[in-house]
């Protein structure tokens, strides 16, 4: 090894950030690959079943591929907390860890969003070719009928928000326990659900669209609001992690 | 190994002196390095280094730059001189005192000494 500890602090911070970002991104995608295989199989299977006994008049994949943000939320709960002790024991700072998690969250959002948008694109092409018409449920930005960029952006931002939200919740409980952890959870959930809804996804947007119309929030504003939600979630992750003490390990004798 | 009441480095130094005296470590011979000593006896290298430092001070060992630690020329003779002096004081005198205590006459000690066979080659001076 030719490197020495003369390396300045910024070098170390960068090293820590990219190491945690890479490990989080790759680790999540390793499991994520199984997720995508599963959702594609389910989508295809369900499409055939519906075609056989019913009628395909809207996207089948929408609801299934759309669970990607939820999956990332779970990964956000599991992966960073599993890596934190290793990161600190490896002599890297919490600061670099937070940055790495945020970078990974953005990367995961972009790639999961892209995968989802591609899935939707493929489905609409297939449905078109078979002469089935998928009607749009429609919302401001996100439209299951096949606005590729819209779906990518919408699912991508939601995915990042879910991932960071999952991390914030997990770290909050790890650090503060039941009561304060739950108090910390409230704004996190509000930001995640709010961001998703304003982007036109999630369980509430259909109802809200029905009540107030789906063009209330212009697309650009929706994206900006979602970006602000993601930034706030990143700040909450930072808040929970920036000076987190590692609990004494359960097996150690102290 | 090294269970005596003295600090370990003193015991190590004593052990090396004994090896030189007995001829197991001839003059000019290389002695184990600090590292070898540390790993062989599972002791802290600083402890071994301390023992070596004492022996270098005494002129028993000499450090050759880049080569290691060697038994100094004349070390055997010097140790022999020291131990001879110490022998009379520390071993022989208590033995004589003990003999006095037990009522063994000096003449009997002398005749024992002159009649007992030498245990090593060479004659006592």
């Amino acid at each position: 090894m030719t490197d020495t500890l003369d390396a300045a602090a910024p070098t170390q911070e960068r090293r820590g950030m990219w190491t945690s970002a890479y490990a989080t991104f790759v680790g999540t995608w390793q499991i994520g690959t199984y997720f995508w295989i599963a959702v594609v199989l389910i989508s295809v299977g369900l499409t055939f079943v519906l075609d056989r006994w019913s009628e395909v008049d809207s996207s089948v994949a929408d609801g299934i591929l759309g669970s990607a943000p939820i999956f990332l939320g779970v990964m956000g709960i599991v992966v960073p907390l599993a890596m934190l002790p290793l990161h600190l024991a490896g002599g890297a700072t919490r600061r670099s860890f937070v940055r790495g998690i945020v970078v990974a969250g953005v990367g995961l959002g972009l790639t999961f969003g892209l995968a989802g948008a591609l899935g939707m694109l493929v489905e609409s092409v297939v449905l078109d070719a078979l002469g089935w018409s998928a009607t749009a449920e429609s919302s401001a930005l996100y439209d299951s009928s096949g606005d590729f960029l819209g779906i990518w952006l919408s699912w991508g931002l939601s995915s990042t928000a879910f991932f960071l939200g999952g991390t914030a919740i997990a770290v909050g409980y790890y650090r503060w326990g039941g009561v304060r952890g739950t108090a910390f959870l409230v704004p996190v959930v509000a930001l995640v659900v709010g961001g998703e809804t304003v982007l036109g996804g999630g369980v509430y947007s259909v109802a809200i669209d029905a009540a107030v119309g789906d063009d209330v929030v212009p697309a650009v504003a929706a994206v900006l609001i979602a970006l602000a939600a993601v930034a706030t979630l990143a700040a909450l992750v930072h808040r929970a992690l920036r000076d987190i003490p590692l609990n004494p390990s359960a097996t150690a004798t102290c | 190994m090294f269970d005596g009441p003295e600090p370990i480095y003193i015991q190590i130094a004593e052990q090396i002196r004994a090896q030189i005296l007995s001829g197991d470590l001839p003059e000019e011979a290389q002695v184990m390095s600090t590292t070898q000593y540390a790993t062989t006896f599972r002791i802290n290298p600083a402890t071994a280094a301390k023992a070596f430092a004492i022996l270098v001070d005494e002129g028993v060992l000499e450090k050759r730059r880049g080569l290691g630690m060697f038994v100094a020329a004349g070390a055997h003779e010097r140790l022999l001189e020291e131990h001879r002096a110490a022998y009379l004081e520390k071993v022989f005198r208590p033995a004589v005192e003990q003999a006095d205590l037990l009522g063994i006459p000096r003449s009997e000690l002398v005749s024992y000494l002159t009649s007992s066979p030498a245990t090593t080659e060479g004659t006592p001076r």
Partner: protein, 294 residues
């Protein structure tokens, strides 16, 4: 080359919630370049003190310095400290390879060749998940991480307890070999004092969160001496000195005294047929921490 780190805890207290503090005003120094033994009974605060050095947490009060600086969130200082905890800070559910990869990416001083040869030596599979390794192999993995880190301050916290005796001795040998070739500061906490006491240059003993002693191992060994011999002679020698323990059997008595014997006393003892021996660090530790049991 990197220079070994020293460390200093000054009046450090750490509280976890309610109850007695884990550390209660502890003060001690780790001299750079030494192998220091950190001893203490269960709950004495060893792991907590080591967690402070590795910036795993901050003290409730008091100051912690590593290489002269507050280590907490200090990128350069932290990069030079490797703490190996018994629990093992590893990625439990992916291969050993992944964990080592993470360390090698993070650590500027990591030695991949050393890690590889130690994995072979301890027969730790690179493909296995850490949580599926036997306890001994998990400990061995910790030893590999600690040694290969080449960190200027490398800390082993009860790391090798799960290993069998041959593996432990192989670890001591590997540690000594690497330590002499690449000088650094090593802190070892262990309950197996007999096995490791000769590795120590310095010894720190914690007791109920306080520093019981912090001095060179030679000084510690001079704290007590054991006498075995005829009861009358032994008691005469012990007269006026502090006795740590006494055991009698027939006319023979074994006494552990505080302090050392002067040369004159030594020859007196010899003349009286009293055997003078050093007290092992283990025994001394038991005496020291027993007498103050609450």
């Amino acid at each position: 080359m990197t220079t070994p780190y020293g460390a200093q805890l000054t009046d450090v207290t750490v509280r976890y919630g309610k109850g007695d503090p884990a550390l209660d005003g502890a003060t001690f120094a780790i001299r750079p370049g030494t192998v220091t033994g950190l001893l203490g009974r269960n709950g004495a605060g060893k792991s907590t003190a080591l967690a402070l050095l590795a910036s795993l947490r901050r003290p409730t009060s008091g100051t912690v310095l590593v290489d002269g600086q507050d280590p907490f969130e200090n990128a350069v200082v932290m990069a030079g400290v490797q703490l190996v905890r018994e629990s093992g800070d590893v990625l439990r559910d992916t291969s050993v390879k992944e964990t080592l990869g993470y360390y090698s990416e993070l650590r500027p001083t990591w030695d991949t060749d050393l890690a590889e040869s130690l994995l072979d030596q301890f027969e730790v599979s690179r493909e296995q998940r850490p949580d599926r390794l036997s306890r001994g192999k998990q400990s061995a993995l910790g030893c590999v991480i600690g040694l290969a880190s080449r960190a200027p301050l490398t800390i082993f916290d009860e790391t090798y307890l799960g290993m069998d005796a041959p593996s432990r001795y192989a670890f001591y040998d590997a540690l000594l070999e690497d330590y002499t070739a690449h000088p650094r500061t090593v802190v070892v906490s262990s309950h197996l004092i007999d096995e490791v006491e000769r590795l120590f240059e310095d010894v720190v003993v914690l007791h109920h969160g306080k520093t019981l002693l912090a001095e060179t191992a030679d000084t510690v060994r001079d704290r007590a001496v054991s006498l075995v011999g005829p009861t009358s002679a032994v008691t005469k020698l012990a007269d006026g000195r502090r006795t740590l323990s006494t055991r009698s059997l027939g006319g023979t008595t074994q006494i552990t005294l505080e302090g050392v014997l002067e040369p004159a006393e030594l020859s007196l003892a010899r003349d009286a047929g009293v055997e003078v021996a050093r007290v092992s660090l283990q025994d001394l530790f038991i005496h020291l921490t027993q007498e103050t049991v609450r």
